[in-house]
Subunit: 388 residues, 2 copies
Amino acid sequence: MIEEIYGGANGILGILNEELIDLNEEKARSIEGLKHTPAAALGTCRYKLDFKKKPEQAARDMDRLFEVFKAHNIRYFFYAGGNDSQDTANKIHEETIKRSFEVRVIGVPKTIDNDLPHTDHCPGYGSVIKYNAATVMEVAADVSSMATDDGSCCIIEVMGRAAGWIAAGAVLAKRNPESAPHIILLPEIPFNEAAFIEKVKQTVAKLRYCIVVVGEGLKNHKGEEIGADKSRLDAFGHAVLSGAADRLAEIVQGRLSLKTRTVKLGYAQRAAAHFASETDMAEAVACGEAAVRAAVDGKSGFMVKLVRQQSQPYRWTTGLQDLKDIANVEHFIPRDWITEDGFLPNEKFIAYARPLIEGEVKVPMEGGLPKYVTLEKVPVDKLLPPRM
Amino acid sequence: MIEEIYGGANGILGILNEELIDLNEEKARSIEGLKHTPAAALGTCRYKLDFKKKPEQAARDMDRLFEVFKAHNIRYFFYAGGNDSQDTANKIHEETIKRSFEVRVIGVPKTIDNDLPHTDHCPGYGSVIKYNAATVMEVAADVSSMATDDGSCCIIEVMGRAAGWIAAGAVLAKRNPESAPHIILLPEIPFNEAAFIEKVKQTVAKLRYCIVVVGEGLKNHKGEEIGADKSRLDAFGHAVLSGAADRLAEIVQGRLSLKTRTVKLGYAQRAAAHFASETDMAEAVACGEAAVRAAVDGKSGFMVKLVRQQSQPYRWTTGLQDLKDIANVEHFIPRDWITEDGFLPNEKFIAYARPLIEGEVKVPMEGGLPKYVTLEKVPVDKLLPPRM
């Protein structure tokens, strides 16, 4: 019988620091309210058990995790996130076998990047592309209303370091051949400056304006990110990106003397709960429930996945996939889901993405702004000496 | 009796080019749908009757305008926009008197910048600050959920070249003393780098993260815009701004070694009809109606203004103000509406702004995205030779 439900504050870091939150102390209203609240209510981290680069630290961390599990008799461990989180879950699962200490480990997919393999898509993805597509429609209305013979160009930068799923999703804004977005630059397709400039030029000649969406990780033929600032690295050693849109704006202004503006949605797109997809929310909740059911049924070492049964009308269910098939594998847009010239996703992508943005989450409002939930976060008493 | 209702395509440019749209050809459903549709349905322009810099061109333009008015028997002229548009309306009004050709001219306020004098606020403003404040809440949830001991900072750049009304409006996201935004940098207050860095440092020490909102036109003590790129000028000769947030991020990273990210909402904030204020929409419609009533009553040379009767509960009405009092006068945030240290608007500003974001406009949806209206734009037959 499961007696207590604890949350780790800031993910795996919270377990390492024995910072556990007693979730049974939260109001039912708050737990329910998390469905429409953005961001990770328990906090998140960018901390990795890195056995390759930091083997000693990783081994110490693993020992500590199991000390915390034992001290609090934690027998079920659910970890929600993208590739790095599933990798962490997989390593912990493997250790439970080596150490003969039974903890059932289930990964829950959750990443707006949508780059996990085996699952049809990831919770979070439908909402980010719904918001981004609406934003593209709106920016296009604005830019086209200002379009005079001089022409103009607006470049909207969206998230997506390696995979272009988020950028591609903006195509859903396109309701007829002339409407925006006119060009989508995906990190999967090496940037061809000459072809891009030609396409902007043709679009402006025809429509007097051009809306470009670019994934932040757009790369040149050498594989270098065009917006990368190599002096900055994040905790995983990836270059911090900024300015793909600004770089493109320089190119367009320089080559075509065209009035060019940029929009960089950044974290706003990841957290835009005021315009979330109801389908996405329902799937996210179902993934969490499926994870609990699987663990209670005795399963361990799996990630919950979303399985598409049909696209039109859309029907889906959940399934399970071995964590070892998931960890550190990135899933890219198939090349045949993109037009030959590489500038737009095609009808295959659209058939895939369209159902994911259906329906609107009703967010309670207060004084004209969304009413989001904050957890009380009542700490569980610590039983161990501090982490070394 | 008013027989025909024409729209000028792209504002004054459409009159000059005799590009008139027959609005009676539009469906009633489309006209109604404009209430929830972003951007200028008839198009807009950045064209100015500039008697100072281009006196001959301006004189020719004025002659042409009256030729078009006479050819189509246009006797009522409504012009919606900000300072430059009210200036245009005022010049045309003065000409109607000089030329003894009766055209009743009424200006309609419409600018997210909220920088027109005499009106309590401007249609457009409530919606932009509603969207921006929600975005600040959401970005803050995201950033705070990632906040670990290293700390982090996120800088959100919003519109506002001279006046900080838009930036200030983000304060409505602040629901308690610790919540975001923590710092708002207004173009009205010269940027003090040392005090800013100290404030970021204190905020991160206390909360582990800091959310900064900056108006694009933030200036240093010499009056130079910190994000200005002086090589680019718009049609009015103003410097095109970009990168106030990026410039601040460089400063924060350089001085505090703090993980710093930027969001640049750009046109997205001006066009975010999916999250518009119902109060704002009602006021915009009322301003248009008041303009028509005034003209039919024989008035000319006025701008409709919004008059606040009380703040709590909010009550308002419309009024009229001489166009000559409006044209080219910019209205700034009173200094005593801002805290002494200059880093946040105070309770006076909040009492002013809070009612303006109340209520949500219900936007019809189709396939998970807003259903916006596009006009048919049936042209009125031209009666004149082309503009010289």
